[in-house]
């Protein structure tokens, strides 16, 4: 059980509510080679059972992370993964190299699926050639675990996942947000400064579940499922669909302690069903 990038800050935002060591790990905010101010306000619109965001990868850049944030997060008694984003292949490579030098970061999650910046990686994540180019280039320089976060804004996510696997990904996580839009009819204006944004929350769960199921059948590497998980039952559904692990995202905003509740809930489920290893649930869907 991991907490999803962009929903958990750098972990410190949640330490009043939970003990981070109860989690499998946290994935910190999307990090880019150079600092980014992100998009203009407004960046968020609530939607039925979900929300749209257009944050736009606001972060202080990888050098700031290495110097100021890593010393703190490396003390956490949990695994800390860094979500790496970029506009060009060279940016991804340079950023991944800098994170590789950090002993306490066991893996990166390559974000080839941010829908909120013009060249925020989604351009790479929506074609097999694009994802192969960026994953292949990062694979050459990054020798720890390379997780690749997939965009749902594609026709066949299984094809994209297979391209990532062929290019050297160690695992894939999915789904990133779905491209969406919200309009204020009274004002005849979009609710987001960027007009479109990324949809997340409970409303995307059926889509995410379907995509995890399709991808898990198509690749041999582990699949990490996310998209609308807010309970242990949700998480177990993703495992049954073929995920080896899950991430919790938007639900952290609604209940800052939800991640630990999900972990406990999975333990209860396993006890009730006399399951010794959670891993036996992966792909155990009976059709």
């Amino acid at each position: 059980m991991l907490t999803a990038s962009g929903t958990f800050g750098y972990g410190r935002e949640y330490t009043d509510f939970i003990d981070l060591s109860d989690l499998g790990g946290i994935i910190v905010k999307g990090t880019t080679l150079h600092p980014r101010e992100g998009n203009a306000y407004p960046r968020m619109a609530e939607t039925p059972s979900g929300m749209l965001n257009a944050v736009g990868l606001q972060n202080k850049g990888v050098d700031y992370f290495v110097e100021h944030i890593y010393p703190e997060v490396s003390q956490y008694d949990t695994r800390v993964l860094v979500n790496v984003s970029g506009s060009t292949v060279d940016d991804y490579v340079a950023c991944a190299e800098k994170i590789q030098a950090l002993d306490k970061i066991p893996a990166i999650e390559l974000n080839v699926s941010c829908p909120n910046v013009k060249q925020g990686g989604m351009a790479f994540g929506v074609s097999c050639e694009g994802i192969a180019s960026v994953v292949g280039a990062v694979r050459k320089v990054y020798h720890k675990h390379l997780m690749v976060k997939l965009s749902p804004n594609v026709t066949s996510i299984a094809d994209i996942a297979m391209a990532a696997e062929a290019a050297g990904a160690d695992s894939v996580s999915l789904i990133n947000t779905l491209l969406g839009m919200s309009i204020d009819a009274e004002k005849r204006r979009p609710r987001l400064s960027t007009v479109t944004g990324g949809l997340s929350g409970a409303c995307v769960k059926p889509v995410a579940l379907r995509m995890v199921w399709q991808v898990a059948k198509a690749v041999k590497i582990p699949v990490i499922g996310l998209g609308g998980i807010s309970s242990a039952t949700d998480a177990i559904e993703f495992l049954l669909a073929g995920a080896s692990a899950v991430q919790i995202g938007t639900a952290n905003f609604i209940d800052p302690a939800v991640s630990v509740k999900v972990v406990r809930g999975i333990e209860d489920y396993c006890e009730r069903h006399h399951i010794e290893a959670v891993s036996s649930l992966t792909g155990a869907l009976e059709i």
């Binding site: 965001n53 952290n252 800052p256």
Partner: protein, 259 residues
């Protein structure tokens, strides 16, 4: 101040045409420490229309009774649902959140003008109480569209003098808060403000012209309330800053408003 997730019980409610006062009591534990200007994130219910929590200012804290008071303007699905809660409803809140108003040093007795517009008067009650307790001299300048907006006046009166304005003239001076003659009198040492943005900009402009210290409280749309999602940012002289974490209270010199 440690943030907590806590269940409270609705013990008292008072309703006006545009707003509702909710008194929430902690039955089992003392309320967490909180300062004026901070806010809480309220879980409304699990209906599709109220998926996220609602950020609401702390109106008042009655430590003896373990009560948190929220003054809520009924504007959308979430706040209307809150107004409909029956007494005894269990209410889940996360608090205290955000950066509070800056209180003057207790050693120096200061004259403070607390300017509230519409539901923006909510955080000023607890602020006025704390200023009063520390021996300062709060004065409330409260404005609304009509007398219906000027609520909780009996409470405000306990801590300082009231100056009122309404746009329709149904109470106090007719006009906006900036039309009130108190602003033509001796300058206060500090101005604290909360209300609609045009009103806060006007008050900030007044403060800037007079060279007065002034803090305002913003209400940008939020998701997490704890500085994690970066949705509620305000453009400041230091770049984008989270209103939920580095605000909601900002000194006007931090903001890039055209004032």
């Amino acid at each position: 101040m440690t943030k907590r997730i806590i269940d409270l019980r609705l013990v008292e409610k008072r309703e006006w045409p545009q707003a509702v006062l909710l008194k929430l009591r902690s039955d089992v534990e003392p309320l967490p420490e909180a300062a004026p200007g901070q806010f809480v994130q309220v879980r409304v219910d699990q209906s599709p229309a109220t998926y996220l929590r609602r950020p609401i200012s702390i109106h008042f804290i009655d430590r003896e009774r373990r009560e948190l008071w929220l003054l809520v303007r009924k504007v959308g699905a979430g706040t209307r649902a809150m107004a409909d809660w029956p007494l005894q409803t269990r209410v889940n809140v996360v608090f205290p959140l955000g950066h509070p108003y800056t209180l003057p040093k207790a050693s120096k007795k200061e004259r403070c003008l607390l300017v509230g517009g519409g539901i923006g008067l909510a955080p000023l009650l607890y602020l006025g109480k704390m200023l009063h307790e520390q021996g300062h001299h709060p004065m409330f300048l409260l404005g609304g569209r009509s007398a219906d907006d000027l609520i909780q006046l009996n409470e405000f009166e306990q801590y300082g003098e009231l100056c009122l304005t309404t746009e329709d003239g149904s109470a106090g001076i007719k006009g906006l808060v900036t039309a009130h003659p108190v602003l033509q009198g001796p300058s206060p040492d500090r101005i604290y403000c909360c209300g609609p943005k045009p009103m806060m900009v006007a008050v900030a402009r007044y403060a800037r012209q007079k060279g007065l210290w002034c803090e305002v409280s913003l209400e940008n749309t939020m998701a997490c309330g704890i500085g994690a999602c970066l949705c509620c940012v305000e453009d400041t002289v230091e770049g984008h800053r989270c209103v939920c974490q580095e605000g909601p209270v900002f000194n006007i010199n931090q903001l890039k408003w055209q004032i």
